[in-house]
């Protein structure tokens, strides 16, 4: 009996690899298993080999194994390219029509399956995905009725005929007696609780988080790997009275949400590196004019167009240091799908409370890797709109409203258009408390101080989560690296402590300082060339002697083994 199993599905891009994988994940998730999926994109739209790796486990996991137990090949490329990933006692299964030339390797199980033949025979040549799922289900000893209910669920909307045909395929597979199934079958341990869970990727959780946080406007320009956020909200916002606006470019996106946020609507945009570069001037305006906006950066490999379908975490620098001049901003860095949901909600609160741009930093792997998640609690993060003024005491004369009042916490009351007595002027020029342009040096200094210091109080909030508290070395990371780090730490028998940082800006200095005092060594793990987070920390804290940087920048996430090796590394 195995605790987990890892399956790689490979085939021609656009021919059902992803849906096969997703259906398997959803089916196992409905049984109470945890799954994690990892897509490898072809640089072609259609055609070209693509793979989808699924990890099925009885415990929660957010990484795929470095090797696979089952390789399901729907094309020959998959066999050539990925057979070396199979475990010694692994199994390779493939559409028997492919007729591959597979070298005999001891202990390796080789299983040609009549996928195409069977589907053609049943007059359903396009339903190969169902056949593949059925075979895998059978191999993993899944009861047939689970698969049939999954099929009903999946194809219900497409009509009874389609459902019937798929069920027919399923039955044919389960009736197939060509193999000694008993011998081949892998037995997975039963899940801890037989509960039906959902499958989400980071972008789903961010979009749902935004909807739940009361975001009612998104302006966006499509870009990989962020588009799903605008797509989801474009579909669902209208049902809640909101809107998605697809705009002409990222500059329009950020300035349109500045307009909407200024008017009082929780507003966001979602993009990736190139879009972030274009938005910087607008983000600076939001910083200067103290407008609460939320921007998702789903990072991909840069610079320039880089590797648009590959993973990286190399936008920290540009986001942390920003565009020209100096202005406040907050950067949250979710590491799990659950984080994506809750941190998105927190992002909207922070934007409203601190009246500044809030960036939600994701990465391609976090944004696009589907996984089984536990139920989300809609009410865990309560809504806080900060010093928003929607009504004014009658006595107030118009234009006496000090939108940029110098307060002790640096945060001023914010009236929105429509509010009587709240009339004020907003400008990207330096301004006085009323928002009117002013270039006097004393005013300039107090306004700079006000803006730059208003987020200081965040230093009191705990933003670092540490797991297993017994070692002298801490591996610290953010984003999707966390899932791999966790898996590696556990696999290494917790030889090191590990953790994640949830907020990168303002950097949780106090907390970091304390950890630098208590650990002998802190290793910052990140997917970029410069060791961006570690450089940021070094510029803020005197920690050069204790901080080590571990980076990877080849377009792929860390493997578990790479991190384990680093954990054993002699510094």
């Amino acid at each position: 009996m195995k605790k987990n199993i890892s399956i790689m599905i490979g085939g021609v891009q656009g021919e059902g690899v992803v849906s096969t994988g997703m259906n398997l994940m959803k089916t196992f998730s409905s049984l109470g298993y945890y799954t994690y999926g990892n897509r490898n994109f072809s640089s072609r739209i259609k055609g070209g080999n693509t793979t989808f790796t699924i990890h099925i486990d009885i415990e929660k996991i957010a990484a795929v194994s470095d090797s696979v137990d089952i390789l399901l090949a729907m094309d020959l490329d998959t066999i050539d390219k990925y057979m070396h990933l199979l475990n010694q006692d692994g199994m390779i299964i493939y559409d028997s029509d492919l007729k591959p030339d597979i070298p005999i390797v001891k202990a390796l199980k080789i299983l040609p399956l009549p996928i195409t033949t069977l589907c053609k025979g049943l007059g359903a040549p396009t339903m190969k995905s169902t056949a593949a799922i059925a075979y895998i289900g059978r191999l993993l000893s899944m009861p047939m009725d689970i698969l049939s209910s999954s099929i009903r669920r999946r194809y219900g909307k497409k009509g009874d005929d389609i459902v019937a045909k798929n069920l027919e395929i399923l039955a044919a597979v389960y009736e197939n007696q060509d193999f000694s199934w008993q011998m081949l079958q892998l037995q997975l341990l039963s899940p801890q609780t037989a509960i039906t869970r959902g499958v989400m990727m980071g972008n789903d959780a961010i979009a749902l988080g935004a909807l739940s946080a009361g975001c009612r406007f998104i302006a966006s320009y499509p870009i990989t790997p962020a588009s799903e956020i605008m797509e989801y909200l474009g579909k669902h916002l209208p049902n809640y009275g909101g809107m998605m606006l697809q705009v002409e470019d990222e500059i329009a996106a950020v300035t349109a949400i500045i307009g909407a946020a200024y008017s009082g609507v929780r507003s966001m945009t979602a993009t990736s590196g190139p879009g972030i570069s274009l938005m910087l001037e607008g983000i600076g305006l939001a910083g200067m004019a103290e407008i609460p906006i939320v921007i998702v950066d789903a990072q991909r490999s840069g610079p320039s167009t880089g590797l648009p379908t590959k993973h990286e975490q190399s936008d920290l620098f540009t986001l942390y240091y920003g565009g020209h001049g100096e202005y406040p901003a907050i950067i949250l860095s979710p590491s799990t799908i659950e984080d994506c949901f809750y941190e998105t909600q927190r992002a909207f609160n922070l934007a409203d409370i601190y009246q500044c741009p809030v960036i939600l930093l994701s990465d391609l792997t976090l944004s696009l890797s589907p996984q089984t998640i536990d139920n989300l609690d809609l009410n865990k993060v309560s809504l806080d709109r900060g010093k928003l003024v929607t009504e004014m005491p009658q006595e107030n004369t118009p234009e006496a409203f000090n939108r940029y009042q110098l307060t002790s916490d640096g945060i001023s009351p914010r009236a929105i258009p429509g509010v009587k007595g709240g009339i004020h002027h907003v400008t990207g020029l330096e301004h006085n408390e009323m928002g009117r342009p002013k270039d006097d040096p004393i005013n300039r200094r107090s306004m700079m101080d006000k803006r730059m210091k208003k987020t200081l109080s965040l230093d009191e909030v705990k933003e670092i989560e540490i797991f297993s508290n017994s070692n002298s070395t801490l591996f610290l990371t953010f984003g999707s690296c966390f899932g791999v780090l966790k898996a590696a730490a556990e696999a290494s028998g917790n030889a090191v402590d590990y953790g994640k940082i949830n907020r990168i800006k303002p950097l949780p200095r106090k907390e970091l300082e304390a950890y630098f005092n208590s650990y002998e060594k802190i290793v910052i793990v990140e997917n970029n060339y410069n060791g961006q987070l570690s450089k940021i920390i070094k510029s803020e804290l005197d920690c050069h002697n204790k901080l080590r940087s571990f980076v990877k920048y080849d377009g792929n996430p860390f493997t578990i083994e790479e991190i384990i090796k680093e954990m054993g590394g002699a510094y």
Partner: protein, 287 residues
């Protein structure tokens, strides 16, 4: 009834004496008064330029953003709260150099915003540079040998791009300008008001005198039909775009009307919380 003064704040404009922009400011204030727009429901967004300062001289909600982006900001505001009257304003550089793409996309998107171009055919604020609306052979610090690029014709371009309301005004024709702005605001959908607003400091060619001699007043042309596309195009071509009045108008559904029921609430009035039921239903899609 509101009066012009109600929309005037106590800030002294930093414009040069005689600048055409004063008249545009005044016309907007009078128009707002005529329409009796509650000042708290009036929002003026501007870009950067001498023209950009306009929003700071109105007693209304004013948003002075960044160069070339007054329109995306304005569209965001209108989508957020359709109960507001939203005016975007800016210079010819702002709207036709750096902001040209936004201008044309705003036209075709047709969100109910009135866009006033304070067109002096020069970059005033940077102290005299050639603008995409400067005429050929125009000499400035950036075209010492005379500009060789053909100027953009805002009216023709807007018409070609399907604008539903196009008008041109002139700073010195106050009454007509006021009337145009009133109608532009009343128009349901995007409206473009291109105002010849002379820069007395850096444009010594297209002066008040120059315009007075060239401009054809369409209001004085008997039977000019503002609903005739072909006629509008011909008029623009024939007058070399030197005409004032409402050039073209066409009624049609605005963006918001196309994506929402008339009865829909402004986004600012929506309930922000989902119910647990709604949330569960949404979550179901992921199972």
């Amino acid at each position: 009834m509101a009066t012009m003064k109600d929309y005037n704040n106590d800030v002294t404009p930093n414009w040069c004496p005689g600048c055409g922009h004063f008249s545009v400011l005044r016309a907007l204030q009078v128009a707002a008064a005529k329409l009796n727009i509650p000042k708290e429901s009036l929002v003026v967004t501007t870009g950067i330029g001498c023209s950009g300062r306009l929003s700071g001289y109105m007693s209304a909600y004013g948003f002075h953003g960044i160069h070339g982006r007054s329109l995306p900001v304005a569209q965001g505001i209108k989508l957020a709260n359709k109960d507001l009257t939203v005016i975007a304003a800016g210079g010819d550089g702002d709207g036709f150099a750096i902001g040209l793409s936004h201008t044309l996309h705003a036209i075709r998107r047709n969100i109910d915003v009135t866009y006033i171009v304070l067109n002096n055919q020069v970059y005033g604020l940077t102290k005299g540079h050639t603008s995409p609306l400067s005429q050929k052979s125009f000499q400035t610090k950036s075209s010492p040998y005379g500009s060789v690029e053909a100027p953009i014709k805002p009216g023709i371009l807007a018409l070609a791009n399907g604008a539903g309301f196009i008008a041109q005004g002139y700073s010195a024709y106050q009454e007509q300008l006021i009337d145009i702005i009133v109608k532009a605001i009343q128009h349901k959908g995007f409206s473009l008001v291109n105002v010849f607003s002379p820069c007395v400091t850096y444009n010594k060619i297209n002066t008040y005198q120059w315009f007075r001699e060239k401009l054809v007043d369409l209001d004085k042309q008997d039977g000019y039909n503002t609903n005739d596309y072909q006629c509008a195009m011909n008029t623009l071509v024939e007058t070399d775009c030197l005409c004032t009045g409402i050039i073209y108008e066409e009624k049609g559904a605005s963006y918001i009307d196309l994506v929402q029921e008339k009865s829909a609430l402004p986004l600012t009035k929506l309930d922000l919380r989902l119910t647990s039921q709604e949330f569960s239903r949404l979550f179901e899609d992921f199972k």
